[in-house]
Amino acid sequence: MATTPADNGYTSSADLGPATALTCRECGHSRELGPYYACEQCFGPLEISYDFGGVTRESIEAGPRNIWRYRGLLPVPSNVAETPNTEPGLTRLVRADQLAESLGLQRLWVKDDSGNPTHSFKDRVVAVALAAARELGFKVLACPSTGNLANAVAAAAARAGIRSAVFVPSDLEAQKIITTAVYGGLFVTVDGNYDDVNRLASEIAGEEEDWAFVNVNVRPYYAEGSKTLGYEIAEQLGWRLPDQIVIPVASGSQLTKIDKAFQELIKLGLVEDRPYRVFGAQAAGCDPVAAAFKAGHDVVRPVKPSTIAKSLAIGNPADGPYVLDVVRRTGGAVEDVTDEQVVEGIRLLAATEGIFGETAGGVTVATLRKLVEAGALDPSAETVIINSGDGLKTLDAVSSQVAPSANIPPSLDAFRAAGLA
């Protein structure tokens, strides 16, 4: 059936809060808000433009203890907190003195986003996508996913009482299959890698006009949810920006949106305008952005991923070029680490700070270490790293590496005899 972009029944009565328009990042062509994601002129990504009103530190601090305290900076209606949603955000910013000491850093913080309702940062972006999708007239919440997003979409749709449709590569970690399937909803495993699933989702989105693929046809709205990571870091540091931040890179959206959040806070006068450096972290088995950075290229050449860090295994990253822009503008870098280093990173974070991160967290810790050792990152400057998900979802990565210290009979004599004290 023939469709046009607004055939999903969208009318311009949508309440998208401070959002005013969709503007192409490539050619600057602007259009009205609606269920659009690619520029009509050049296929470039559409970015939300805003007219922020009187957002102050006080107005934010008086808000709910979740991402909706920043609703005045997001493309969502002002009553967004009143409709059923998973209420993500305001996760811990952990002062990581022992990890800092082991790496030779002076002051280090871990933004631990495993504390979200489905245990990854994806709850943030999905909550914003759900709110926008409702306003835009969509009926089904859908996604292609490497796993974390699958969990978040299935849970958010269940909570909102709407249908979900989730597509994942069939070789996903067993934990992520179970933690999606449990929520019910349509859940399809696809014999292909993430980029194959992504392509399929893009084609389905062109046919099923009521389906909001959060990271495809609702992506301009969805991606804005990652700004809340940046807002929270600044607020939790006492309304200031860190000197350096290390962020995992899959599509690259999270990194670019944290930078966008910092820039917005500066423009709104909510934090001091001071320089900060943004670093990207990738796995060597899927390093298209790191490779482009190191080669001095503006264009990201797609790769076929092969890494245990499956949540970062996007071989054709949509925001790769913009990651390069941010990293180069701020004087940062993009580095990549081997799977062996990823496992070491997971264990180091767990052993020093009691935080069990997923493989993406291992990539970030290992990249931090590599950047410090290479002298690319200033060890005396305040640094924040992102742990984007929970180690319980990627148990296979460490299952052969860790084990109990001993097995003994239930007697004090046996305990003493084993020399365990």
Binding site: A2, A38, D195, R199
Partner: protein
Amino acid sequence: MSTVSVRIPTILRSLTGGESEVKAEGATLRAVVADLDANHPGIAARVLDDNGKIRRFVNVYVGDEDVRFAEGLDTPTPEGTQVSIIPAVAGG
């Protein structure tokens, strides 16, 4: 000369009279795009940049293969091939 089927993304369907799939002829992707443009004027300018290369934010598949992994616009398009033009801004 081979005939192929081309899937058209939503934002180009204003150029194909709303059709989501059209036929085109050509032995390579370059010839297919030229034939598409002859029948649906304007398509080539939307898919290709000023230098005649596939735009940064357009993915083109011949069968299951992203043509960036194949021979780009010189990728052969045998009789009956499925070609898909898809916005690249997706995922993650």
